[in-house]
């Protein structure tokens, strides 16, 4: 049923591709009784500067795909090119900023020290680190919380710090796996607006995993809908909402796109 609303993913290698994935497969526990075919024959090209969401039922391989892009796990078959190099080379070149469902902040470091951690590892001097951390605190709207420890922050604030840390060294690619999954609806919408704001300011390429259809539609240029067992791309939907404003969430087009994504997910469910 692929090709339902297939985009241009199958086209030639675009010069400006941040991520170029071809014929990618991932099998866990190969040859054992608990073998899982997590991904099968994935082809995907992500343009530099775009905001792409991965959505699909639980277990369809969204996280696995993100982890393969981020060189946190190795493919069983196929290739992942990031900025024209292997994913692992991109990792060594510090091309990735990552944020997950839990913030992964280090409890023994203050907010500022957490944001400075990647910079410290990259050998930045103290003053540059301090200045960049201050910039990041502005960006994530927590300028007064630099000296707080993570446990003194709310869940949403911790996620913002994690995003600030991921952006601190200006990686070209931001990989996020359900970063707002643990937040309440209000905080979530607020964070979405902030992430879009940050995305516009920094011009990064973002790959974003989510369970929420409205979230995917609101944030992205492009929504990749995945289907499970084995994980495949079921649809590749262009999102033409234009500049997001306060009214976007109530616009006709927003609901049409949500319906479009939902129908792919449902059709996929029915057809198995």
């Amino acid at each position: 049923m692929t090709g339902h609303i297939q985009g241009s993913a199958a086209g030639g290698v675009a010069a400006s591709a941040a991520v170029e994935i071809s014929d990618l497969s991932k099998v866990f526990n190969h040859g054992k009784p608990n073998e899982v075919h997590a991904l099968d024959g994935i082809g995907l090209s992500i343009e530099t500067g775009s905001f792409v969401s991965l959505i699909g039922p639980s277990g369809c391989g969204k996280s696995t795909l993100l982890r393969l892009i981020g060189a946190l796990t190795a493919p069983t078959d196929g290739t992942v090119l990031v900025n024209g190099k292997s994913a692992d080379q991109a990792r060594l070149d510090r091309d990735y900023g990552m944020a997950f469902q839990t913030s992964g902040l280090f409890g023994w470091r203050t907010v500022t020290q957490n944001i400075e951690l990647p910079l410290q590892l990259m050998g930045w001097n103290k003053l540059d680190r301090k200045n960049r951390a201050a910039e990041m605190l502005e960006l994530i709207k927590l300028p007064e919380f630099g000296d707080h420890y993570p446990h003194e922050l709310s869940g949403g604030m911790q996620q913002r710090v994690a995003i600030g840390r991921a952006l601190s060294f200006q990686p070209s690619l931001l990989l996020m796996d359900e970063p707002f999954g643990a937040l309440d609806e209000m905080t979530r919408e607020h964070m979405q607006t902030e992430v879009l704001d940050i995305w516009k300011k920094t011009g990064k390429t973002v790959v974003f995993v989510t369970h929420s259809i409205p979230e995917a539609v609101f944030l992205s240029n492009r929504v990749i809908v995945m289907s499970p067992r084995p994980g495949r791309i079921a649809a590749d939907i262009e999102i033409d909402l234009g500049a997001r404003t306060f009214d976007t969430r109530e616009s006709q087009r927003f609901f049409e796109l949500i319906t479009q994504v939902r129908e792919v997910l449902r059709f996929d469910e029915d057809s198995r």
Partner: protein, 258 residues
């Protein structure tokens, strides 16, 4: 802050004082000659009477305790670092540590005396080192290895080296457990030193003081030395706590119910 510390210590002090008064009163009634168990006031009297001798003995024992603690902590920490860094070290050194710990270490005291000489403090230090090593090793290596997958993946994404991960993640992560082990180790060190001294070592030690006075039925004097040893254990416990506060500033103001 001092007022707060005093307030939090008050219940313990009250309980201790109440217990001592009770002890004193009961013994006044049932055991006025003080042969089996002396009264607190008698022990205190003996402590004052023999103050210089007990202080000197405490100095000798204290030296054994401190040097043994430092040696045991160093051994435990280095061992834990090796095990957390290298798989081969884990496979070889972890079973060795467990095997070492299975030895009844105190039972080695007479053997060590034969090695190092009956009057040498070295055998006592060796006992303390061995006793202290294991809890420090077990807790520290647990702390060094129990780092979350997300934290490790983040460090991986920063292309951090193994040593950078150890320095910036594993070691801070191990701090709370290390200090827990330090508190256990400091009381073990006092016990180990004194029991080791029962078997040999310098003659002016707390262990020898207890043995000799008990042998000539001077139980009150023996008790006075026990009090000195307990004081040393309590002091060490609080010193460990002080180090902990300095080394783990992020845990100071955690507001937890209970």
């Amino acid at each position: 802050m001092i007022a707060k510390a005093l307030r939090s210590a008050a219940p313990a002090v009250l309980l201790g004082a109440g217990g001592l008064v009770l002890w004193e009163l009961i013994l006044l009634v049932v055991n006025p000659d003080g042969f089996v168990l002396p009264r607190p006031t008698e022990i205190l009297g003996s402590l004052i009477e023999n103050f210089t001798e007990i202080l000197a003995a405490a100095g000798t024992t204290g030296f054994i305790v401190i040097t043994g603690l430092v040696g045991g902590i160093a051994l435990g920490v280095v061992w834990a670092l090796l095990v957390s860094q290298f798989r081969i070290a884990d496979e070889m050194l972890t079973p060795l540590a467990v095997a070492l710990n299975a030895i009844p270490i105190i039972a080695l005291a007479p053997i060590f005396n034969a090695w190092y000489g009956l009057l040498s403090p070295t055998s006592n230090q060796a006992i303390v080192v061995l006793l202290v090593f294991f809890p420090v090793f077990v807790n520290t290596s647990k702390g060094l290895t129990s780092v979350g997958a997300i934290e490790l993946e983040l460090m991986h994404s920063y292309a951090a080296s193994k040593w950078e991960i150890t320095k910036t993640v594993r070691i801070p992560n191990a701090m709370p457990l290390f200090f827990t082990s330090l508190k256990i180790a400091s009381s073990l060190a006092v016990i180990g030193a004194i029991v080791a001294e029962y078997f040999g070592g310098r003659q002016d030690s707390l262990g020898q003081f207890i043995v000799q006075n008990a042998a000539s039925s001077r139980y009150t004097e023996a008790w006075a030395a026990v009090v000195a040893a307990s004081t040393m254990g309590i002091l060490l416990y609080f010193v460990s706590g002080g180090f902990e506060r300095v080394a783990t500033p992020w845990r100071r103001d955690v507001d937890v119910v209970g």
